[in-house]
Symmetry: C2
Subunit: 607 residues, 2 copies
């Protein structure tokens, strides 16, 4: 067993549940009738305990032993993963985000998001296996027949089997529509939903392992004769071992694991190349209608993108935790303002504080955003007021690409800063932060690269309701700054936010112009930077909301009490974010308004 | 043997040597009488060949097999490292930067810097061993007796032994003066320069290995009774195996390797904990006078800091090379402006181009800066005009912390972008970029963290000659923008540079105010950001100088010729840097002028 470093505190989660957001508005929905507000805090406490006692202790094993591929095509995982998986199954932690009909815990999505953050922050590689139980199960729950649900959701939600998401092929990565895996109807079967599947899928996370006997693959394939591109793709349930109608396991299903990738991180998660139907005997069950695979995968991917945000936040927050704890203990060098004085804990050095404040404010801000998306999703899925539900859905849709990309890119910087704050030991595997960095780096790439997120933001999400959702989002920031214009504590922050949001609006206006004046390529060239700037405006508002709540609460408690310290820290996070992170928007704005096209016009041979 | 990915092109080096800088002004010095201008280009070509044929092929072995510690205290390296070391020795590549008196090649420092970049870019872990031969040897050459030089420099420069730099102890990292290793005169010896050494040094790079029989340690220790802090430290030559006056090896010298670190990267470089004198038998030879150890180590560290810049640039440039080559080959997705078109090489996607342009322009800019520091060092060490020599020395001193920190921080971003541009394969160890990221991360930490560089910049370097060196540096940028104010091609760039430099000057003025008004802590809090902004102004000028040279040359060649393509790319790099990277200065300026002290005033318990 490796060393367990997971030490997340509960207070910021409680703040979201009890102070920042109105959870009672969500708990009133029938779907959550079983939950009282106090239950949610207890669930978070339990999840933290699982993080500390079950997942955290297995984190270094996953990295060091990793998933091991054997010549017979099998993949084995560390013993501590097996042990942890058994505990997770027993305690219902495999499907906390799923509806109860087939065994899920049915948590509100906001709360589920926090649990996901905690689990991934404790052990990312492991949590991918349980995450896929939930994610694959939900697709089957949404689109399968009653029999499919009974057979597969039950198994996935109980952790009898894990799931996968088989999109990528050697020549179809970001371009999913280029997939060549094919499906041919099994004419010998009585069931018209059975197809033979043949093709190679690559980079399949958790594609094979020995923690469960079966793996339920969701495979995108093209039925012979169907059109090229994403429109011709259908989705199939392809169990590693065939599942009989009574739920018992049948014959192996001609799915061969050809190898696993050696990667920078998440070593405990097997990244497989899977050969389907090498011997012509791989059978799959079509999920829903032919040629509707892509929208179904999109739904799964949307959830996975929120999941990416939580994964990234989990790792960033764990890195920040390591750095803040270490910085209080490690004594080194005299302070800047007393160079001949005694050595002090490094948390007293200004640049270490700067890096810790980056970690603190960014993780709190991203946590608020991800929780908000979950909160909006609960409204969208449950509110009887259709207008309200639709508004919540669209706002969540708009925020999603931002959440995925900002959490993974800025979270990577938080980990980098944590390594730096810790100095030489941060680089050594004795401490966990270098592993967090290695585990993290994939999140900006998978489930649609962060550039694909940016294109999704600009091309789809900003166009929702003819642009009204996006405009409404900016307007709500302006309304917020106007409503608080006399707030002396946050005056500079509100002014900065107003100006930053104006600049984001200006860039969006310029985008419209570029379409008309033949400079359309400036849009994708600016997309990533635009996405970051919009993210920072949205996050700054969330932090100011939190800061204002905390400031009021601070008047009612002893500042030296645990609550007093938390609120003081929260006000500081809000100010720090607005005064140190948000101004990056102006740097990007300076660049984007030059409207430089050098990167486009430079001939390819110059690279 | 792993896969060799090293593929650097020679053209940018030639541009520095033949077109941007006036190498003939350096070659006229006696020290370089043996070199003609054409020799320098040939040396670069040879170094590139060594990178491709000797170092590159061993790079993955170093990462995968790594340095291995054995229970008897020995450390072994991969066979391919041994083979490469033999070739490097045979061909005189161990001491290319050292003076010829004891076997060095005596290259001008600018050229040596380029060679270092190439070697580290091909194989960082390996090149550390040869790098320490050169660096340790130079300290002995500068401060040793004739006998020391004869004995140790000869061995180090020929690669018979490697060197180390033993500063860090478990409780003395950034705070070198806290060192507890002690020295006691060996009263039984006839030689008054012999001391017994006792103490533990940690994080000693290349501290032990089996490529050479001996390792020559340079050890900072405190002679019993000497004062605390850096002022009481002396420097000792401590061979792993005692060297007899005739150069033959004597007894082992009671230096025990207690272990090596497991690290994020540079696995092939052993990072040792060394126990000196566990049995009271470790002897060292004092180098120069007692209590002068720190200035000597500073000299070595200064060189090491320029070395850090080259290491970082080498890795960043190799990552950029991997990404640009892959991006031309990998076909994926239709272009943004023709969504229904055919899939294209990913280099045609705008965001991939943006990332590649980051890599191209940043590596070229940093290369120019590092070469300039080497060029200035040659003037400083050789020019008969004292005023000119001193000016060159001080300017190089000012640029050094910037070079180390910007190359390592921004270089890390270049590698991150290279991984991102390559997508999933960038995360896999099949390609080299994830290793570059892991190898790189230590460079922002060692040889003085980048924060220590920033404090050195502000506290020492900006104070040189009462601030005149720094002011002169800014003024030379203003002079440059004024001299070219009618240059239509770079009008926006010159304007941006002028404004950016003004903002840097303004922050420096504010610093002076903070000292007076009780807000001194704002200075270290801003230091890292200030350092980055100053770096970007200096780099922008270098890029514009290059861009202007290239523009003129472009008028004289066929734009489709190899030279034409290079010059076109150089003009693009200059514009891209000024229009996309330099504007970050304005984001930082927006933040710094808020003068936020939240990170300082927040109570420690809030973290």
């Amino acid at each position: 067993m490796g060393i367990n470093y997971f030490k997340r505190e509960a207070r910021d989660y409680q703040f979201l549940l009890n102070e920042h957001f109105k959870m009672e508005d969500v708990l009133k929905y029938d779907a959550f009738a079983d939950f009282a507000i106090d239950d949610l805090g207890m669930i978070i406490d339990e999840a933290l305990k699982v993080g500390r006692e079950v997942l955290g202790p297995a984190n270094q094993d996953g990295d060091r032993e990793g998933a091991v591929y054997h010549q017979d095509g099998s993949v084995t995982l560390p013993k501590s993963f097996h042990d942890a998986f058994a505990v997770m199954r027993e305690n219902g932690w495999v499907s906390y985000a799923n509806k109860p009909d087939f065994g899920g815990q049915g948590l509100p999505q906001g709360v589920a998001a926090l649990v996901t953050e905690i689990f991934f922050g404790a052990n990312m590689a492991f949590s991918m296996y349980t995450g896929f139980c939930s994610a694959a199960g939900r697709v089957i729950e949404n689109y399968g027949t009653d029999e499919d649900k009974e057979l597969f959701c039950t198994q996935l939600y109980s952790g009898e089997a894990t799931g996968t998401m088989c999109l990528t092929e050697p020549d179809a990565g970001s371009d999913v529509g280029a997939a060549r895996t094919k499906a041919v109807k099994d004419t010998s079967s009585d069931d018209p939903r059975i197809y033979f599947i043949e093709g190679v899928k690559r980079f399949i996370s958790c594609g094979d392992h020995d923690m469960t006997e079966n793996v339920i693959h969701l495979v995108l394939a093209r039925i012979e004769g169907d059109p090229e591109g994403t429109k011709g793709l259908s989705l199939f349930i392809v169990p590693k071992i065939w599942v009989n109608p009574d739920g018992s396991l049948g014959e192996p299903n001609d799915v061969f694991t050809a190898g696993i990738e050696h990667k920078m991180g998440v070593h405990g998660s097997s990244t497989c190349t899977l050969n389907f139907g090498e011997n012509g005997k791989c059978r799959g069950i079509i999920l829903g209608e032919p040629r509707t695979g892509m929208p179904k995968m999109f739904q799964m991917m949307n959830e996975a993108r929120l999941g990416c945000g939580m994964q990234a936040l989990g790792l960033a927050a764990s890195a920040y935790d390591s750095a803040r704890i270490y910085a209080k203990e490690r004594v080194q060098s005299a302070p800047f303002i007393d160079r001949r004085g005694k050595a002090v804990p490094i948390i007293q050095h200004e640049d270490v504080r700067r890096m810790l404040m980056n970690g603190k404010s960014v993780t709190e801000a991203v946590r608020a955003l991800l929780f908000k998306i979950g909160y909006l999703t609960d409204i969208a899925e449950n509110d009887p007021d259709e207008e309200k539900a639709r508004h919540a859905e669209h706002l969540a849709d708009l925020l999603l690409p931002i959440a995925k990309s900002y959490a993974s890119d800025k979270g990577f910087e938080v980990i980098r800063d944590s390594i730096q704050a810790m100095g030489g030991v941060g680089y050594c595997s004795e401490f966990p932060v270098e592993q967090y960095a290695r585990d993290m780096k994939i999140i900006s790439i998978w489930e649609g690269t962060n550039y694909i997120q940016a294109l999704d933001l600009i091309g789809r999400k900003m166009q929702l309701e003819g642009g009204k959702v996006f405009q409404g989002c900016l307007q709500s920031i302006f309304d917020f700054t106007a409503a608080h214009k006399d707030d002396a504590d946050f005056a500079v922050d509100l002014k900065t936010l107003f100006k930053a949001t104006q600049s984001v609006g200006d860039v969006a206006m310029r985008f419209m112009g570029y379409f008309g004046d033949g400079r359309a390529q400036l849009i994708p060239l600016a997309a990533t930077r635009f996405q970051d700037s919009l993210a920072e405006c949205i996050l700054a508002q969330l932090m100011l909301e939190q800061g204002m709540v905390a400031r009021e609460k601070l008047k009612t408690v002893d500042p030296k009490s645990a609550d007093g310290i938390f609120y003081t820290g929260k006000v500081a996070s809000a100010k720090y974010f607005c005064r140190n992170i948000l101004p990056s928007v102006f740097g990007r704005y300076s660049a984007l308004t030059i409207e430089d096209d050098t990167a486009i016009t430079i001939p390819e041979e110059c690279f």
